[in-house]
């Protein structure tokens, strides 16, 4: 040992020449490459600026408040008064189709995926034909096909339905009756929440009793019954909760009266606090029983990076976009006012109401109490995305179930669970862990694929953005908005998936 370590210590004492020092080489190369990348970017951007200046197109976001003069096919605002409002409407449309699409694609995907695992030969075959067909045809082609099929349907008349007066299927779109939230819904929901707290305690007590005394106390059945009872009691009694609205109104008032500087201070405190907490946690994780471990240059880099990130955030809040805090104040106030409006009021009607589709002059009535209508644009995009994505989800579900060791379902069968029970209580909970990350990816893919709306003319954020930059040539600015929007979507999705993943992790004992 000593013989072999001696030369090593010797050579480490003789310092290598400066161009052979690994630390210097490592950081030197990295900084040179970083400088090159930054230089290339600066060059390209300055070039773009020169070219744009020559064409007389300023790069800024002042146009956001300009009048839009475009008409959107559908959405919260079909005749937006400003370009910003048009983009906002497009974003809501994107989220609308993404949200519903994710829900339906998951349901179909799980069904098909389980059918592929069925013991029934025909079910397996039909499901695998479904998967293999749909996932191998480009989603754009599928969307266009649906559009071609739907637009060749008949004209809309009173009896152009599958079921007269109730379900309509025509080239103007698809409409079905719907149940919608009436005025009393939010108060009803709040009342239910109050009851829910009580039910939770009952449930806990029963659970303790069952744990102590053994036997089956039918916890699930009893709490389900209590929920039904609560819903039924709250149904007519919901107006008594109308005072909740005034609480939200009060919050809105307080929120709206925060001075801008205070909000800026709060945001800065959050950014700096987050960095400090992160660095402290990081140091904590490097602490060994023998004291703080030696920090590598990479560790230092991470901590400095966290500090720089906080600094950039502060810069953003105070200098680059000081309007951010007033925007947060205003939108927060609007949000709570909206809630106050929803929860308040003595209108006191039923929580839910149902309506069937109404027609006027060969078109669906889109607003007011009417049926649930999908325009052909929405429907073709929706069908295309949902069926395409569901075929991938089916494969993920199947893979997840197959990843559960067969011993688990054998053991479940051995303790006398039926196939359905073992699927629900043993296999699926374990499969869920494997399924979750790729499922999140598919949700993200579906959200990104909504941008194909442009092929059928559904007014999503990309289509609206394109018609805006065709008007005012602000291509670069619109790209910035698209990018921010989609990055926000993907970051939110991966955040949610990460949280769920952490909760699902096997607790090691």
């Amino acid at each position: 040992m000593t013989a072999s370590t001696a030369p090593v210590t010797h050579s480490s004492q003789a310092r290598p020449p400066i161009w052979r020092n690994t630390t210097i080489l490592k950081w030197g190369v990295q900084i040179i490459v970083l400088a090159l990348v930054i230089a290339a970017f600066t060059f390209l951007v300055s070039q773009a600026k020169t070219n744009l200046d020559q064409k007389g197109i300023p790069v800024d976001y002042d146009w956001i408040n300009d009048p839009a003069n475009i008409q959107l096919g559908e959405g919260i605002d079909t005749q937006p008064n400003s370009m910003g409002r048009a983009l906002w409407s497009g974003m809501v449309n994107t989220l609308r189709i993404a949200g519903v699409g994710i829900l339906v694609a998951t349901i179909i995907g799980v069904f098909v995926g389980l059918a592929r695992l069925s013991h029934n030969w025909l079910a397996q075959k039909v499901a695998s034909i479904y998967v293999e067909t749909l996932r191998n045809i480009p989603v754009l082609v599928q969307i266009l096909l649906w559009f071609a099929i739907l637009t060749s349907l008949g004209d809309l008349t009173q009896d152009s339905g599958v079921l007269n007066d109730f379900v309509f299927l025509s080239q103007k779109g698809i409409s079905i009756p719907r149940v919608f939230f009436a005025d009393g819904f939010y108060q009803w929901l709040f009342l239910l929440l109050v009851f829910g707290v009580g039910i939770h305690f009952v449930r806990k007590r029963l659970q303790r009793k069952q744990d102590l005394e053994g036997g089956d106390k039918h916890i699930g059945l009893i709490s389900f019954g209590l929920w039904v009872l609560a819903a039924a009691i709250a149904w007519p009694a919901n107006p008594i909760m109308s005072w909740v609205g005034s609480i939200f109104d009060a919050i809105a008032d307080v929120w709206g009266s925060i001075p801008e500087t205070l909000m800026q201070l709060i945001l800065t405190a959050i950014a700096v606090g987050a960095a400090v907490i992160w660095i402290r946690r990081f140091l904590e994780s490097r602490r060994t029983p023998a004291g703080l471990a030696k920090l590598t240059d990479d560790d230092w880099f991470r901590m400095i990076f966290a500090g720089i990130a906080a600094l950039i955030a502060a810069l953003f809040i105070w200098i680059l976009w000081p309007g951010l805090s007033s925007w947060i104040i205003n939108s927060g106030r609007d949000f709570f006012e909206f809630l106050g409006n929803k929860f308040g009021g003595e209108r006191g009607s039923l929580p839910l109401d149902a309506m069937k589709p109404t027609l006027s002059e060969g078109r669906f009535v889109n607003y007011g109490p009417t049926g649930l209508t999908m325009s052909v644009f929405f429907a073709s995009l929706f069908f295309g995305l949902v069926f395409y994505t569901s075929s991938f989800i089916a494969e993920i579900v199947r893979g997840g179930v197959l990843a559960v060791p067969p011993g688990q379902s054998e053991a479940a069968a051995a303790v006398g669970l039926s196939r359905m029970q073992s699927l629900r209580k043993v296999v699926l909970p374990q499969a869920f862990r494997v399924i979750m990350p790729p499922l999140g990816n598919q949700y993200l893919n579906l959200t990104k694929n909504t941008s194909l709306a442009i092929a059928v003319g559904y007014s999503d954020v990309v289509q609206v953005g394109q018609s805006l930059y065709n008007k005012n040539n602000q291509t670069l600015a619109v790209f910035g908005i698209w990018m921010t929007f989609f990055l926000a979507c993907s970051l939110t999705t991966s955040l949610v998936v990460n949280i769920i993943n952490r909760r699902l992790e096997i607790v090691e004992r």
Binding site: V33, Q47, N51, A123, V139, V141, A148, I149, F479
Partner: protein, 619 residues
């Protein structure tokens, strides 16, 4: 795969379960179960099973009926597809020069035949499988015939019944007439020859009718298809079979691996040759080519090769690094000088200098015995010659007289884009993946930011950005064609996904590999190039095939930003022809079939590749 739990092995459509390698790796198949018992076990084993059977039969029949109604609807004019087949596959490629397309296809088929022989892909299957597939196909055809609506032409319907019945009878005869069908294999040669023969017989005998444009009017005549179609296809099939047989014969003569190496090189270089020389037909100015281009390429190849051969000498020490650094300085100086308008030089000279500098810096890593050094120098020479030749070919104007500007269109465009995007994003993806997994924090952050941003936004916005904006970012005087811009954007986008796939492969490598290479005293570059990457890429192959399929499917988005790609032709060009106003449904259905056939066969191949790689890890 556990696709099937019953006694009958999947009689699904993709019967050609490609089994690589030798006979003993193929799992033995079960003998035939009598139909009655099979149905009892698989369809009606219990009450719930019976209900499932009824439910899924209803779903299947409902969907089939709906689809057939769509296909045979009165307003669908399938002549719009039949007349426009050439448009769909090759767009406006001039008819007089169409032999170029056939030569390209023939070259690809020949290469395919040789490759199948070189890698010894055994696609044979048993009589049992053949019987099951034929009988299932026949049965499905009869079912389709029954469900076909009355709007379909009566001869089509009758044809379905007759063909279905024949297939059913043949299939059943093979299954129950032959003794032990699960033990008898059909050799692959016989299979290939009979498939090729069937294709030839089909194009010569089947009365598909002649659809073409006479002037601007669509015309139709009954009979078999045009000689200008069936002639080339006959040749194609002969080329495929012949090249396979030649490959088999060569395999016996040549040393093992020689043919594989040549074919691998072809698949990297060949398509570029086919597109930029055969299809594009550049009008080379031969005088200039011989006076400037050839000497330049050869000069770089030979002199650079010599320098690299010297630099790979073992024990060169500090001198090698110094030469590399000097070369790098020269290469950077060339660009800087160009920026100030000094020191004019052909652009490809600058690119070659930069490449040479990179090779020179890497050279000490490849130091070794004579053969290895020669291989390194030869690799450089081949790369530089191919690069020079490609740049020259791309910069030479084409001789083709084409109505609309792009000489690539239709299916050829889709395939070309998918191929080149994969090829271009591969090196970039490797670099990004290495950077993302490296211990160098700035590289890691840069690569992570790049990957996450590109993966977070939809492809279509990237394509919009590049097709509209790329020219804005270029310095004055430089411009880039729209197709090239789209290709650039798509490659950069694809590289982010490629990087994530390769990163998965890198993470699969065990710590011991790193420790062992450190123990051997390898440098970081040597460890990465000779130990880590070869193993990581091997693990990544199935995922890369998956990405290739996705890339191919997503070439359809090119139609939105202006490329004359399959979808654009089907959805816009054909419905605007005076004869077929508004007819986009048949064409869309047809291109769905084309996309499906390609993606599906690729995914089947990747699945068996996965099994093959799983089996072969010991080698």
């Amino acid at each position: 795969m556990s696709e099937m739990s019953g006694p009958l092995v999947v009689p699904s459509a993709g019967a050609a379960e490609i089994a690589f390698g030798v006979e003993h790796e193929i799992a033995p198949e079960d003998p035939i179960t009598p139909p009655g018992r099979w149905m009892r076990e698989n369809l009606f084993s219990s009450w719930s099973n019976g209900i499932q059977t009824v439910l899924f039969a209803a779903i299947l029949i409902g969907i089939l009926k709906w689809l057939l109604n769509l296909v045979f609807a009165e307003e669908s004019d399938w002549a719009s597809v039949a007349t426009n087949i050439r448009l769909l596959f090759a767009y406006n490629y001039p008819v007089e020069q169409f032999v170029r397309v056939w030569v390209s296809l023939g070259t690809l088929l020949a290469a395919a035949g040789l490759s199948i022989a070189a890698w010894n892909l055994d696609l044979s299957f048993t009589l049992r499988k053949l019987g099951i597939n034929t009988a299932t196909g026949g049965g499905v055809l009869v079912l389709v015939g029954i469900l076909t609506p009355g709007t379909a032409p009566s001869d089509v319907r009758a044809g379905m019944f007759v063909l279905g019945a024949i297939l059913l009878v043949i299939g059943l005869a093979v299954l129950f007439g032959v003794k032990d069908p699960h033990r008898k294999r059909i050799p692959f040669e016989a299979l290939l020859i009979s498939v090729a023969g069937l294709v030839v017989a089909f194009v010569w005998l089947f009365p598909l009718g002649r659809y073409e444009f006479a002037g601007d009017e669509a015309s139709y005549a009954s009979g078999t298809i045009n000689i200008s179609t069936k002639g080339p296809w006959t040749v194609m099939m002969i080329v495929l079979v012949a090249s396979f047989l030649v490959g088999k014969a060569l395999g016996r003569v040549l040393p093992s691996g020689a043919l594989k190496g040549v074919m691998a090189a072809f698949w990297v270089i060949g398509p570029a040759f086919l597109i930029f020389v055969v299809l594009r037909d550049p009008a080379f100015d031969w005088g200039y080519v011989w006076a400037v281009d050839v000497p330049m390429a050869l000069g770089f190849a030979l002199l650079g090769g010599g320098v690299l051969y010297f630099l790979t000498k073992p024990g060169l020490g500090e001198l090698g690094r110094i030469i590399g650094a000097v070369l790098f300085g020269v290469a950077v100086f060339n660009w800087v000088a160009a920026f100030f308008g000094l020191y004019p030089m052909l652009q490809k000279g600058r690119i070659s200098f930069m490449l040479l500098a990179v090779f020179a810096i890497l050279a000490p890593t490849f130091a070794g015995e004579r053969a290895a050094r020669l291989r390194f120098a030869t690799g450089w020479a081949v790369l530089v010659v191919v690069m020079h030749w490609l740049i020259t070919a791309i910069n030479t104007p084409s001789t083709l007289e084409i109505v609309a500007p792009p000489f690539l269109g239709g299916f050829i465009l889709s395939v070309s884009i998918a191929y080149y995007v994969m090829l271009a994003s591969f090196p970039l993806g490797i670099l990004l993946a290495l950077a993302r997994t490296s211990k160098l924090p700035i590289f890691r952050v840069m690569s992570t930011v790049y990957i996450e941003i590109l993966r977070g936004v939809p492809l279509i916005t990237i394509l919009f950005f590049f097709s509209i904006m790329l020219n804005l970012f270029l310095p004055g005087g430089m411009s880039i064609s729209e197709l090239a811009a789209i290709f650039t954007g798509y490659s950069l986008f694809s590289a982010a996904y490629m990087a994530e796939n390769i990163r998965g492969g890198l993470q699969a490598i065990r710590r011991g590999q790193y420790e062992a290479s450190d123990a051997l005293g390898l440098t970081t570059v040597q460890r990465t190039m000779f130990i880590v990457l070869p193993q990581a890429l091997r693990v990544t192959i199935p995922n890369l095939v998956g990405q290739a399929i996705a890339t191919f499917k997503e070439t359809s988005l090119v139609s939105i930003v202006g490329g004359f790609e399959l979808v654009r032709i089907a959805n816009q060009t054909i419905p605007n022809q005076p004869d077929y106003i508004g007819q986009n449904r048949p064409a869309l259905l047809f291109i769905s079939l084309v996309f499906w056939a390609f993606s599906y066969s690729m995914s089947r191949a990747s699945r068996s590749l996965e099994q093959h790689l799983g089996v072969g890890t010991g080698r």
